[in-house]
Every structure is written in C-alpha cells, then in structure tokens.
Amino acid sequence: MEVYGVALNSRLMLGTAQYPSPAVLQAAFEASGAAVATVSLRRESTGGEGQAFWSMIQALGVRVLPNTAGCQSAKEAITTALMAREVFDTDWIKLEVIGHNDTLQPDVFGLVEAAAELSAQGFKVFPYCTEDLIVGEKLLAAGCEVLMPWGAPIGSGRGLNNVHGLTRMRHEFASIPLVVDAGIGVPSHAAQAMELGFDAVLLNTAVARAGDPVAMAQAFGASVTAGRMAFEAVPIEAADTGSASTPVLGKAFLS
C-alpha cells in the first residue's frame, strides 16, 4: 500500500507501548513484519533522557509514526506534533484528539481543526477518527490523505463495533487509504477489517499485553496477510439458505 507517496511493504502497523521489555518489543516487530511503528512523545519523554528508547525504535528499521496520544484539545495536539517533528525527524503524525476520558472517543471537532492547521504546516496527518462519513470528508478537505477510523475504543479489544458503518466508509472513500485503528483484540478482528477492504490495521495493546507478545505479533502478521488475500480474491456473498457444494443429482446412490 502507499500513503503520502510512501510505499509500505506490510499492512500492519504496531504501537510501541506496554511491552514487557525492549527485547520483547523488538522480537514482536520482527515476528509481525509490521512496516510502521507508532511512538508516543508524551510517555517516553525525550531529549537526552529518552535516547536509549528512541535508538531502539530506530533500530527496528521501520517507518516511525509519532502520535499525539493523550492530547485533549487541538492546541495541545498541535504543540505535541511540533515537538514530535523535532524529536523524531519526520513530518508524519498520527493525530489523536481525545474527547472522552472513559471511551477515549476522538473529539472530531478538535481533530478537524488540528488536522487543518498541521496540514498547512506541512505535516502528513494520520487522523484517528470515527466511521462518521462527514467527519471523513472534513478531514480530507483539511488536507489528510488517509483516514484511521476506530474499530472500538482504544485498548478495549472489542473488534469492529460497527461493521456496517465501516463498510459504508470503505465504499464512500474508495480511493483513500483507510486504516482501522484501535479496538482490535484478536487476529480474527484484523482479518475481518482486511476482508472488508481496509488498507491496513493499527494495533498495540492486543500484541503488547498478550501472554506471549511475540507469538501474537506473528499471528497478527499472518491474519492481516490472510485477510488482504481474501479481499483480493473476492469472497462469496452470504446467503440465507444452504446450497450444497456437491450436486445431489447424478449421485450413484440416493439414500
């Protein structure tokens, strides 16, 4: 897939928070084949102090996508994005403007405002949004070239809460890269998103907090590949009645 003119060799994007150790994080990335690593400027503080962590992320050899996790207003997110650009030396930014403390639902008004400002300043914005079509349109008008609707609340592991809405979104924005971001719990959720035609999935908790993060990362890598293959292979439509795959007529013995 291609985002902002950059070809990515995997449709899996992984977060870098909450792993049991840096060694497990590294092994999980390797096992997953993920092409993009999201990093939080806030949590792993910066400057000289966080250098060891940042060096380790750089050594993963994947594209770095800093995020504005935890920001609750457009202004805060813009400030964080500007700092992230300095620290991580990239104009990519995963834009999160959180509107609700319990569900971590995005504040779509602040999101559109921040996306317009950051796009004007030359950022390549990856907005964490909902499946609302109008919000999607406003984000594209603000300069975004990719949309990242949630599957379910961040960290909840509930999968795709609104399959119908996500399907509509896929049809509506047929030529725009769409990434399901947040709420993925198990590989079947990721495969489902890919089967619906989404271009990629982004997840963190489901791998980092699994009992064996490395094995789970590998499972996710495989499920994303399987889901995409299935989408490209054009799945059958679900039907209301059974239809035998082997014709009954002409069988040697009818019993």
């Binding site: 049991p20 150790s21 840096p22 060694a23 497990v24 590294q26 949590r43 792993e44 503080s45 910066t46 102090e49 966080g50 250098q51 060891a52 962590f53 380790m56 960290g155 908790t205 907090r209 009992g211």
Partner: protein, 319 residues
C-alpha cells in the same frame, strides 16, 4: 588484601558482600557515595518479594529463581513480613484481573468478603481480587542497614584490590553497553488512619500501582515505569497517577502527609532479566530492573557459586 573488592554498596553489592563473607571470604566494599542512601536506587525501592505477581510481566526465570529470596533475607536477620500480596481492581477494570490471573501463578481468587477479611480497611469496595499467599515484603532501608553493618564502606580503594566485583548499577554503563535506565517515581506517605498489613496492588490498564506498608502508618506508593534514564524532578503526571491510585485504594489517603518523593532510574538489560556477567577478570552484577530485592540474593548466590566454586548458574554469562 581482601579476596574480593566490591564496587557499589547498593542492594546488589551488599548482597554479594554478605554472601561471600558468609562463605568465609574476605571482602572490601567501595562506594564513592559511602553507605547506602538517597544517591542509589536501592533506597527508593518498594521491597516487595513478589515472584508470583512479577510473573505478570517478567520472564519465567525471575518468578522461579526469585521464589527463594524471602528465605535468604530472613537468614540475614532482616525482618521479612510474610503476609502475601493482595491484588485488586476497580469494578470497571475487572477484565484486568482476569488477565492478571491468567498470566500469574500462586494465587487464589477472593471476593469482596474475602478481601475485607484480609484487609478490613478495604471494606467491600472491590468486588474481586487475587491473593498471593506465599509472597512477602521487607523495608529496603532497614535491609540495607542490616547488610552494611559488618562492613566499612570505603570511599575509594585504599589497599591493593582483590578480585573485582562490579555492582555500580547504571554507572556500569561504561562497561556494560546494553544497560539502560528505566525511570521510576515513588512517594512515601504517612496516613495513620489507614491500616493495611500487606502490599496491595491496584490494577489499571495504563497505570498499575502498589502500596507497601512500612509500619506505623507509613506507606510506600510506587512506582511509575518510564523508558528514560532521567533522574530529574518528579513530573506532575506521575504524582497525579500515584495519588489517584492511593485514593482509589482508600479515600482516607486523601489526608496523608507526603513525607518523601523519590525519583531514580533502574538499571536494566534489554530483556529486563538481571544477570551476572563475567568478563576479563571482573564479575558484574547488574540489570536488576524492578526486581532489586527479589533478585539481588539470586545474583549474589550465582556470583558466589561462580567465584568460589566455579559453578555456572542460570543467570551467569561469560563474555
């Protein structure tokens, strides 16, 4: 001349000094900062001997080998409180408790009445918890004082050196390049109106925290885990997280006096497993991460087995 010259009088240095001395070796301790104190991260530790709980995020070897540590500390004459660990989660984070139970061993499930029976202070605020019956805790500063008592800590090497043992923690990064610092922030509170008799861990998806009783109404509240080695001032966010956890465990903590705020960086290897490294005549004990009091006795016996018997234990690496 002593048989061994140990550099660093933190928990690692003191444990290996005690272990070697107990086996009949002569030992000298060298630390430019002197006896244990605020300069070392051993001072700021929680002092939990919780091999079961640590299994939630630590590799299996830590839980397995750490299981003997409470006995080691007790054998040194250190007061070890064996009242287990209580793990609770607020009703909305019940799923965290299920996850914790799946990833750890040595616990029994307790309901609200069971929690109240263990710690009446908690009443029935938490609907479910896990009780790790075989765990223990100690007061780190008392433990350090007990171990350092037989030794004179030299500020610099005054006599000819014996075999060099390096326990300098993060300062050993000049030799152990893979070491990194993991920042931790903690508080010491005094709140006589709260009576808890064992460590209580509060699960939360983003900030699991614990409270360790130190006696006489004093509690250690810890600890943040941040991937950087800064030792600067405590951050407001950390204080908010720590205090809100205390408040969630018992609202009476709202009236606590804040006696101390501690900030330091834990030395860790990339897999967060502590180890003994033997290289070019020097033996290093390092990477204790958040398992200082749990794993320092294990590293100390590993090092002593190697130095005095040539035994290569599970956590020994020869470079």
């Amino acid at each position: 001349m002593s048989d061994f010259s140990i550099f660093g009088a933190g928990v690692a240095g003191l444990c290996v000094a005690s272990e070697l001395r107990a086996r009949g070796a002569s030992v000298q301790l060298i630390d430019p900062a002197g006896a244990p104190g605020q300069h070392g991260c051993s001072w700021w530790a929680g002092g939990m001997l919780a091999p079961g709980c640590e299994g939630e995020s630590a590799p299996e070897v830590v839980s397995r080998l750490g299981a003997t540590s409470a006995d080691w500390w007790a054998a040194q004459g250190v007061a070890v409180t064996r009242r287990g660990t209580l793990v609770v989660a607020p009703p909305r984070d019940r799923t965290e408790l299920n996850r914790y139970a799946r990833l750890t061993q040595g616990h029994v499930a307790v309901d609200a009445a069971g929690i109240e029976a263990l710690e009446p202070q908690l009443e029935r605020r938490f609907p479910a918890g896990l009780y790790f019956e075989n765990e223990a805790h100690l007061n780190p500063r008392d433990a350090l004082a007990k171990l350092v008592a037989p030794f004179d800590v030299e500020r610099e090497l005054e006599t000819r050196a014996g075999r060099r043992i390096d326990c300098r923690g993060l300062a050993a990064r000049d030799a152990l390049k893979a070491l990194r610092g993991v920042r931790g922030e903690m508080l010491i509170l005094r709140c006589p109106s709260v009576v808890l008799t064992r460590p209580v861990r509060l699960l939360h998806p983003r900030m699991p925290l614990y409270i360790v009783p130190r006696g006489e109404g004093v509690y250690m509240l810890g600890a943040t885990m941040i991937e950087n080695d800064g030792r600067g001032h405590v951050r407001a966010r950390a204080l908010l997280e720590l205090l809100s956890a205390a408040y969630a465990i018992d609202p009476a903590f709202g009236e606590a006096e804040v006696l101390e705020i501690g900030v330091d960086a834990r030395p860790a290897f990339s897999d967060n497993v502590p180890r003994v490294v033997a290289r070019e005549g020097t033996v290093y004990l390092n990477g204790l991460f958040r398992h200082g009091y749990l794993m320092a006795p294990v590293l100390a016996t590993t090092a002593a087995d190697y130095l005095m018997g040539g035994v290569k234990g599970e956590l020994l690496r020869e470079d």
